[in-house]
C-alpha cells in the first residue's frame, strides 16, 4: 500500500518530468522501466546506482548522436568553404606562364572551345574569391579582364595562348595579368588587415 502511494505520489508530483520526451524514450526500454519502478519502490542504493548508470549511458549516447548529426550536417559546409578559400589564395599566388612549359596545357590541348570564352566572363570565379573586397574589385573588371583571369586560373592558359586568342601582344597580356593579380592581392591584404585587427 505504502509502495503504491510512493509511485503514485511521484507520478502526481512529477507529471511534466515523466512527460519529457527524453524520459519517455528512456522508459520505453523494458529494463529501464523495471529499474525505474524498482527504484520508486525501494531505497536500495544499488538499484538507484544502476538506474543512474543506465540513464547516464543512455543520455550520453543521445547527446553524442545529436552532436554527430550536427557535425555531419554542417562540418562539410564549413570544410568546403575553408578549402575554397585556400584554393582561391593558392590560385592567385600561382605564377602562370613560367616554369616547365611542357607541364602547361596549350590552347590546342584544352577542352575549351574558343566560342566558349565569351561565356567565361559569367563563370562565377568571384565565388572562389575569399574576401568581400576582392569580390568588389572583381566586379569592376571589364569582361575581357575577367576572361583573361578565368582562362589563367581555371584553364591555365599561357600568356602566349591568351595573347593569340585576343590577337594582341604577349607583353600586353602579361602586363594586364600582373595588374589584375596586384589589384586582387591588394584587396586581399586590405581585408586581411581589417579583419585581423
Amino acid at each position: 500500500m505504502q509502495t503504491m502511494s510512493r509511485k503514485q505520489s511521484f507520478a502526481q508530483t512529477n507529471t511534466l518530468f515523466l512527460q519529457n520526451p527524453l524520459i519517455q524514450s528512456f522508459l520505453q526500454n523494458e529494463e529501464h522501466e523495471s529499474l525505474f519502478l524498482q527504484a520508486m519502490e525501494s531505497d536500495d542504493p544499488d538499484i538507484h546506482r544502476e538506474l543512474d548508470h543506465r540513464f547516464a549511458v543512455f543520455y550520453l549516447k543521445v547527446r553524442l548522436i545529436q552532436y554527430t548529426n550536427k557535425v555531419a550536417r554542417f562540418q562539410g559546409v564549413k570544410f568546403d568553404q575553408r578549402k575554397r578559400k585556400q584554393r582561391g589564395e593558392l590560385l592567385l599566388d600561382h605564377t602562370y606562364g613560367s616554369g616547365d612549359r611542357e607541364e602547361k596545357i596549350s590552347l590546342g590541348e584544352t577542352l575549351v572551345e574558343p566560342s566558349m570564352v565569351e561565356e567565361e566572363a559569367c563563370w562565377p570565379l568571384q565565388e572562389w574569391l575569399p574576401t568581400p573586397r576582392m569580390k568588389r574589385v572583381w566586379e569592376t573588371f571589364t569582361d575581357q579582364k575577367k576572361q583573361i583571369l578565368i582562362l589563367t586560373v581555371r584553364y591555365e592558359w599561357s600568356t602566349k595562348d591568351i595573347a593569340s586568342y585576343f590577337d594582341c601582344s604577349t607583353q600586353n597580356i602579361s602586363k594586364l595579368r600582373r595588374q589584375l593579380r596586384q589589384q586582387l592581392q591588394e584587396a586581399y591584404h586590405y581585408d586581411e588587415a581589417r579583419y585581423s585587427s
Binding site: F17, H53, R54, Y59, Y67, T68, Q75
Partner: protein, 66 residues
C-alpha cells in the same frame, strides 16, 4: 560501459550519416573531412560529462522553477 565504448558504438551507428555528410565535398577531400569530423566528435565526447537520472531530474526541476 565506458565513455570510449559509448563513443565507438555511436560512431558505428552514425556511420551512414557521416558518409552522407562527406558528400558535401569532393571525393579527393572526403578523407580529410572525415578526419575533421572524427576529431570534432571525439573532442566533444571528452568534454561531455555523464549526467545521472537524479541529476537530470534536479536540473529539470530547477528549469521548471525559473
Amino acid at each position: 560501459m565506458t565513455k570510449q565504448d559509448i563513443l565507438l558504438e555511436v560512431l558505428e551507428q552514425m556511420e551512414p550519416r557521416i558518409q552522407a555528410g562527406l558528400r558535401q565535398t569532393t571525393y579527393q577531400e572526403q578523407e580529410d573531412l572525415k578526419q575533421d569530423m572524427y576529431v570534432q566528435i571525439v573532442q566533444a565526447a571528452e568534454r561531455m560529462e555523464p549526467i545521472t537520472f537524479w541529476e537530470f531530474k534536479e536540473r529539470f526541476d530547477q528549469q521548471e522553477q525559473k
